[in-house]
Amino acid sequence: MNPSPVIEVCGLAKEFTIHAQGGLRIPVFSGLSLAVSAGECVALHGPSGCGKSTLLRALYANYQADSGRILIQHRGGLVDMVAAEPRVVLAVRRHTLGYVSQFLRVIPRIAALDVVAEPAVRNGIARDQARERAAALLARLRIPQRLWHLPPATFSGGEQQRVNIARGFILDYPALLLDEPTAALDVDNRDTVAQLIEEAKARGTALVGIFHDQALRERVSDRVFDLESARTIV
């Protein structure tokens, strides 16, 4: 196994400044360091509001960290997601770093099957083949076939979440971020998600996740990263 971490966070800091409230500053974390190796799953832990989602979003460069580095192993090199140009960040997201957000962002007129297939198509996989993979994942996640060709806008919360999970697992990303992937799911589907995570680990994917579901957390994670204690170490 590759000894150097797939994701390495060094001295990361993030605060929000709300200009509408006189430049109110809300520090979230600082001096945060974390390394995740191939095949390892790290669960972020801490009370609501401690910055778990913020950290996950910062790792994806959806939020701009104020200082520190987020090094991602990308195609034989290292990319610092904090400093990289937008097009480099997009390339890392396309090939290396997947992200399953809590809520699906619905795109008008696009069928569920194509929403799931899209990351594969953008990665150069033929559309038919991408759709086959998408169909297999949707079936595994128990989305009825009659829904596959409908845009997910009208789906239930749980169905949308499963479409989002399928989209996140359509590619074998070397690194994957999961934001409460099972919040709205029943027992059977939680089990399927746990299996998907276990399979990804077996392939060598480095995972960072927020799992409020304790059973899932204990089943899939190798390590718990406590943000409350981590951020005091500056």
């Binding site: 200009h19 460069a61 959806n62 290292l78 990289a84 008008p108």
Partner: protein, 272 residues
């Protein structure tokens, strides 16, 4: 070592590391009033750059400067041409610049009336640009026109109809077909979905997303609609008072805005 895309040819087109458009310190003044100033950016192949800001922020002025419809008061624009490589647009002759505009570039105006010739048929609107690049065979031009009507979801049997008989959404799609028929590498779009019903807007956005991907187009997109920007643009420049106040990855600018004006803009969007 920190890798960049330049280190990895597999990350994109062969020229992925050479910007298609290089803009440095661009500015335009209307007399003593500043339209836009100090605009600097690179646009890479297959990249969609969104320019957002309220009306009067200078975004349309900037787009007009970039597309050669307004002279620059300051700064330079370099473009990576197919034949000569990187050239300073100011150094091109009028004829060279016109050829570039008609073949390698496209401009989609907010109002289709500004981009279409309303007195000639849909087919002629598409054929005109083909003829500008030397197509002379009537049958082939007609076939290509029919094919493009289909690609933008217009019934090919409307080929002989005047654009004035089309709905607003169809006119906008015709304008896009007219521009794309010559296989341009760079498109300038000014509020392409402005003035359309939301359902028509969604269809047009879907179409544009597909075409931009399929044709590896680079696009400079001016819009005041942040949802349109999120859907189409890879990265954003936020303009206020003629200058860029914030720029970066689209979802980062929209989800973690830093500048007071961007925060105001993002928080002003009505939720449905």
């Amino acid at each position: 070592m920190i890798a960049t895309l330049a280190d990895d040819p597999a990350n994109g087109a062969t020229n992925g590391d050479i910007p298609l458009l290089q803009v440095r310190d661009l500015g335009h003044s209307y007399g003593s009033r500043i339209g836009c100033r100090d605009i600097t950016f690179d646009l890479y192949p297959s990249e969609v750059l969104g320019i957002v800001g309220e009306s009067g922020s200078g975004k349309t002025t900037l787009l007009s400067c970039l597309s050669g419809r307004l002279p620059l008061s300051q700064g330079t624009i370099h473009y990576d041409t197919r034949t000569q490589g990187l050239v300073d647009l100011a150094a091109l002759s009028e004829a060279q610049r016109r050829l570039l505009t008609r073949t390698d570039w496209g401009i989609v105006h907010q109002s289709p009336r500004d981009g279409l010739r309303m007195a000639v048929s849909a087919g002629a609107n598409i054929g005109e640009r083909l003829m500008a690049v030397g197509a002379r065979h009537y049958g082939q031009i007609r076939d290509t026109a029919r094919d493009w009507l289909q690609r933008v979801e217009i019934q090919p049997d409307r080929i002989d109809d005047l654009p004035s008989t089309f709905s607003g959404g169809m006119q906008q799609r015709l304008q896009i077909a007219r521009n794309l028929v010559t296989g341009p590498r760079l498109m300038f779009m000014d509020e392409p979905t402005g003035g359309l019903d939301v359902s028509v807007q969604a269809r047009l956005l879907d179409l544009l997303r597909g075409l931009v991907d399929d044709m590896n187009l680079s696009v400079v997109l001016v819009t005041h609609d942040l949802a349109v920007a999120r859907l189409l643009a890879h990265r954003l420049m936020v303009m206020q008072g003629g200058v860029v106040v914030e720029s970066g990855l689209t979802d980062q600018v929209l989800d973690d805005p830093h500048h007071p004006y961007t925060q105001l803009l993002v928080s002003s969007v009505l939720q449905v």
